[in-house]
Amino acid sequence: MDWLFFGEISLAGLAMGGLYALIALGFVIIYKATRVINFAIGEIMMFAAYLFLAFAGGMEMSPWIALPLAVIGGSILGGVIEKTMIRPMLGESPISVVMVTIGIASILVGLVEFIWTADPQLLPNFLPREPVFIGELYLAPKIAYGFLIGSALLIIYLLYFRFSRGGVALRATASDQAAAYSMGINVRRVFNMAWVFGSLAASLAGVLVAATGGLSPQFGIIGLSVLVVVIVGGLDSILGALVAGVFIGWLETVAGAYLGGEYRMPATFLVLAVILVIRPYGLFGTHEIERV
């Protein structure tokens, strides 16, 4: 076995997994606060990446201005979706809410095709080009710097939720909605905030992933990988999202490199199936007990 090759593949996979962890974090924030499974997260990522394309490519802004603008655009999109389409569904069955997010995903794909056509696009390169070596292992610069930027946001998020007022409100709502409400927390605003923050994480990851792999209206399919990540990690666990994100990213890349691209999805979904049978609530998720 070629350990150097394995090491390089693993490294690339782990870096990709870091981005998955970021997207999964966005997913988990939304789920924890509002109990909504967001099937549209891949499409929100895609929309932000297309916004970046429009700002940096079409309007020729500096990528470092376009990136924050695109991410803000993506999070505004998340807020608008919550206000207009998710809030009216409050209290409906989870099936209905999930179907709404699937519908939103379809609308976003259509919008993107409408504005930017269905052709695949390349994002203007904005990350440094020098190859990165960790020890002897080569890592593609786009992936390496993408990972760095992603982790930076991840750490900011974790600190924010731990220490800031807004973060505490969010965690309080997640752990007991009624208690949070009676303590004067504006639950409506928390819901909206969760969508904004969740979409923000997804948007940044979207631009970074699109910068390495290109962009097309099918980009949202990555949402399926993220779904695997959050189920494996546990839907309501931030730690689970991080661990499972890195693991699934690694597994997908290694399976793709050794078995061929067609094995990527089946490999991760196999892990998913095993987890669903052994620990349906995920590695770190809360085991809910149901009563009549």
Partner: protein, 347 residues
């Protein structure tokens, strides 16, 4: 106008056809179905066949999602199993189509039971994701098991045949698809008058309560999966006979979502809703095509925007129905019927 049909016994209340008026209209509808292929052009005939297949598959999904409350994102995968079974049988054996279709249904039902196994432990969204995993595996098998499925190239099959008759044209396929659709919807209607169907509904309403009432959850959930996949398998088999080519790309994930959307737009847990939803969702893209064709002389760019418009309309229909009309087209239909119940003597 439908008045004076107060029910005086439980049997009368539970009858499928409850009134003379209903029988009259139903007979009229069946007559239209019978005359339809003789009077319309080939395009409408093609659409009629498509709607028929969609009705069967949607009814199947409705049994699982609408009546038993188990969400499935694997419907397209089950249809694929049925389609590949039919394709393989028609290439390797000389069985007539009724046999191959039943085998396709049974094969899909077997796969459905396998996929349904986690349903005892997981439910709701977790189950939806388990079925999503199943559809990923099925797609993988369709694409990679080349000796049976022909790989990415797929399989081409001979037309359906029975007693030396071959069913090659859309016209002849219509007479397989539509009677079968009517039969299977009727069968589903009857299922919900039996213990099995009532058990499904009880599980949907509250599975723990259902278990306390003595319903064996695993057994009935698997039964629901089997029944639903049987419908999907038959629909997939008809799909194979209709297009006479089956590839892994014939049954994408978006197709599963399409059928879920049809169930929701039509009305969950309502067989009539399933029929309306299937017809509506099949015909919307076609209506959009016609609209595009009509607009092209004025806006030469119109065809370019058709596919994105379709995605947007598809999504907007799902979101719009869920927010504004959660009971779907069936509810609209009932509202119209209520209006005519006393018409023209309103109030």
């Amino acid at each position: 106008m439908r008045i004076g049909d107060a029910k005086q016994s439980y049997e009368a209340d539970e009858a499928i056809w409850t009134s003379q008026t209903q029988k009259l209209w139903l007979g009229f509808f069946l007559l239209i179905l019978l005359v339809f292929p003789f009077v319309v052009d080939s395009y409408l005939l093609y659409l009629g066949c498509l709607v028929g297949i969609a009705v069967i598959s949607t009814t199947g999904l409705n049994i699982l999602t609408g009546f038993t409350g188990l969400i499935s994102l694997g419907q397209a995968g089950f249809m694929g199993v049925g389609a590949y079974t039919v394709a393989w049988l028609s290439i390797n054996t000389a069985l007539p189509f009724p046999v191959t279709l039943v085998l396709a249904g049974l094969m899909a039902a077997a796969v459905g039971i396998l996929v349904g196994l986690p349903s005892l432990r997981v439910k709701g969204l977790y189950l939806a994701i388990a079925t999503l995993a199943a559809s990923v595996f099925l797609h993988f098998i369709f694409a990679e098991w080349e000796s049976v499925t022909g790989g990415m190239g797929g399989l081409s099959l001979e037309p359906a045949h029975l007693f030396g008759l071959t069913f090659q044209s859309d016209f002849s396929m219509y007479f397989i698809i539509v009677p079968l659709a009517v039969l299977m919807v009727l069968a589903a209607r009857n299922v919900f008058r039996t213990r099995i169907g009532r058990a499904f509904i009880a599980i949907r309403d509250r599975d723990i309560s259902a278990e306390i009432l003595g319903i064996n959850l695993l057994r009935y959930k698997l039964m629901s999966f089997a029944l639903s996949s049987f419908y999907a398998g038959v629909a997939g088999g008809l799909f194979a006979y209709f297009y006479r080519v089956v590839t892994p790309e014939s049954f994408p994930l978006s197709m599963s979502i399409f059928y879920l959307a049809a169930v929701i737009v039509g009305g969950m847990g309502n067989l009539l809703g399933g029929i309306l939803g299937a017809a509506f969702m099949t015909l919307v893209p076609e209506a959009l095509k016609l609209l595009t064709a009509a607009l092209t002389p004025f806006y030469p760019n119109a065809p370019v925007f058709m596919s994105p418009m379709l995605e947007i309309i598809f999504g907007a229909l799902i979101v719009g129905f869920l927010i504004f009309e959660p009971h779907g087209l069936a509810e609209i239909w009932h509202r119209i019927r209520r209006f005519f119940r006393l018409w023209p003597f309103k109030n």
